[in-house]
Structure formats: C-alpha cells, structure tokens
C-alpha cells in the first residue's frame, strides 16, 4: 500500500494503516529525538509523543509536503519544546571535561582509545547543547542526522540559502565554543 493511501486511511482513524506508518518512520523519529536529547528513554518518550501529535493532527495534514517531512517537523518542534523546558532547569557543565582529556594516546590500548573518542563526542555534544536553539537544530539535522539542505529547508520551512548561511554560522560558533579544548594541531588538548 502506498504511503498516501496509508495516510488517508489513518486520517479516517484506521489504526492498522497508522501502525504501518509508525513502523516505517519510528527509527528515524527516534534517532532524531535521540540526537536532541542524548537519552534513550527520553528519546523514546519524545518519539511516542511526536507520533501521538501526528495522529491527532492528521486532519490538518493537506499533503503540501511529504508525510515524512511533516512528521520530522513535528518531532523537531516537540524536541525544541523539550529543550526549552530543560534549559530552564539546568545548564550543562563543561569544566569537567578538561581533566578527562589528559591521556597519552600512543600508550593507550584500543579500548582506551574508544573511551577517549567517546569523551570527545560527549564534549562536542555538550558544547552543542549550549548553542542557541536555531544553531543546535540545524547542526542536529545536518551533521548528526545527515539531512540534505533541501530536507532541512522543508522541515524548518526556511529557504535553502538560509540553511546554508545558518549552518555556516552554527559550525563557526560551535568551533568557537570548542576553542578552549582544541589543541594546536586540531582535536582535543593533550594535557
């Protein structure tokens, strides 16, 4: 059955048709939610709520965009709401990361290297969380999720030109945030 048909049936309240759509998009929606939250349980909750919002809002869906794009937009907006609430509650500390970088890579084993890489990832993601919302969203969509410029343009309802300039600015700002942790040759400081 085609996606459009599944959407039409879901609009009429057909749960089996909606189940097929959920099966198709659950991984993508969950991954998107996870990119924003970095927490599996929370991403699962956000993904479920995004699907509920989509199901209850299907009557308003007029096929002006792809169903997937519309669903991602709902997920992104829901994640943005979550991030706004979360940012009111606490700020992520970055200072803790400095000490954990003092590792001589030549001497470490493969497992330790993986741990170092994981710490670096955490640092970059933590810095990402401190960025303004619009930069955080565009970096998540492009650099974590790998959305194309066109897809981002459709999900965020902005022009491809704006996608280009905003992404450029977001990457620059993230690099500036990471500057205190970046070494002479790039990458993280070896202390």
């Amino acid at each position: 059955m085609e996606e459009k048909e599944l959407v039409e049936l879901s609009k009429k309240g057909d749960e089996d048709a909606f189940a097929a759509l959920v099966k198709k998009y659950k991984m993508k929606v969950f991954n998107l939610a996870f990119s924003f939250t970095r927490d599996e349980a929370l991403a699962d909750d956000l993904a479920q709520e995004a699907f509920i919002k989509a199901f209850l809002g299907l009557a308003k869906f007029r096929f002006k965009s792809e169903f997937g794009t519309w669903l991602y937009r709902i997920t992104v907006n829901h994640a943005k709401d979550y991030l706004r609430k979360k940012s009111r509650m606490r700020k992520m500390p970055l200072e803790n990361y400095r000490e954990s970088q003092s590792v001589e890579e030549d001497e470490v084993t493969k497992k330790e290297k993986e741990q170092v890489m994981e710490q670096r990832k955490k640092l970059v993601h933590s810095c990402l969380q401190t960025l303004p919302e619009k930069y955080k969203v565009i970096l998540t969509l492009r650099d974590i999720q790998g959305f194309s410029y066109e897809e981002i343009s459709n999900v965020l309802k902005i022009s491809p030109g704006t996608v280009d300039s905003r992404l450029h600015r977001a990457r620059k700002v993230l690099r500036e945030k990471l500057a205190p942790f970046l070494g002479e040759k790039g990458g993280i400081h070896e202390m």
Partner: protein, 164 residues
C-alpha cells in the same frame, strides 16, 4: 583568496557542495595558510565527533505502547466534556440574563402611575377648584393659614387635601 572566503568554502566542502574550480582554489589556499589548515582540522574533528555511527533503538513494543496511549487520548475526558458544555452554557446564560433584565426594566416602567387628588377629581368629572374654594373664600387670615398648614401636613398621605 582571503581566509574568510576560504573558511566559507571549507565549510561547504564538508557537504560536498564545491565546484571543481572552487575546490582547487581552496586547495591552493590551504597549502599556504597554516591558520586555515588548523581550522580544517578543527572542523573535521568537530564533524567526526558529531556523526553518530550507532544509534540506539527505541524500547521494545513501540507500537503497542503507542497504541495504548492513543486509545487513552481518544477517550473523551469528563473534564473536557464539562469544558465543552461550559463553553456552550456561557452564551446561553448571557442571553437569559439579558432577557430577564429586559423583563424587569419593562415591568418597572409599566408600574401603575398613582393619580393625584386633583387627577382623581378630574377623572370623576368633579371640579378640583371647588375643593379650594373654602380656602380662598376664608375671611380670616389665620383660618386660611391653618387650612394651608393642614394641607401641607397631609401632603404625603392620600388625604393630603384640606377637606372642609
């Protein structure tokens, strides 16, 4: 090429959006510019760290859990029903209040107007001037005054007129 332009091209190069001549131009600049080489390494590190190779999976029974929540949401909540009825009751109550007010105002103006003694006499085809005749014809000044005083004392009552 200036470093500012080189940085713009560098960032676009990560998305594979450069034309051949732009790529060559950037390559030449990078060969000679240490600052931009450093930027390239920083950005490369940053983008590698952002890329997620292994995403976790959603918890088991995703659809089943979602289906249960959907059923829960679709069931009409008593509070929601009350709100819906409440919203309908507001204009109805307003209409009732307006109607009641109109009835009250109308009945107030419809209140029977009390006729004065003169009016009653006129209504009975009697001459009200005759009533005051004794007052006007009184010979003594004191008698006339007394009549006027008695009349004024009984002003608020039904028998406010001096009756000889």
């Amino acid at each position: 090429m200036k470093c500012k332009k080189a940085e713009r091209l560098l960032l676009r190069s990560f998305d594979g959006l450069l034309k051949t001549e732009e790529r060559e131009e950037l390559g030449k600049h990078l060969e000679s510019c240490l600052s931009c080489q450093r930027k390239r390494e920083d950005y490369q590190f940053m983008l590698d760290a952002l890329k997620e190779k292994d995403f976790p999976e959603p918890r088991a029974y995703f659809w089943e859990r979602l289906q249960a929540k959907l059923k829960e949401r679709k069931r009409p909540e008593p509070l929601l029903l009350w709100k819906q009825w409440g919203m309908r009751a507001i204009p109805l109550s307003l209409l009732l209040i307006i109607l009641l007010s109109a009835v009250l105002v109308f009945s107030f103006f419809q209140k029977k107007e009390e006729l004065s003694q003169t009016g009653i006499l006129l209504f009975q085809n009697s001459n009200p001037i005759q009533e005051t005749k004794p007052l006007l014809e009184a010979e003594k000044f004191e008698d006339r005054n007394m009549m006027i005083i008695f009349t004024s004392l009984g002003e608020k009552t039904d028998s406010r007129r001096y009756s000889p």
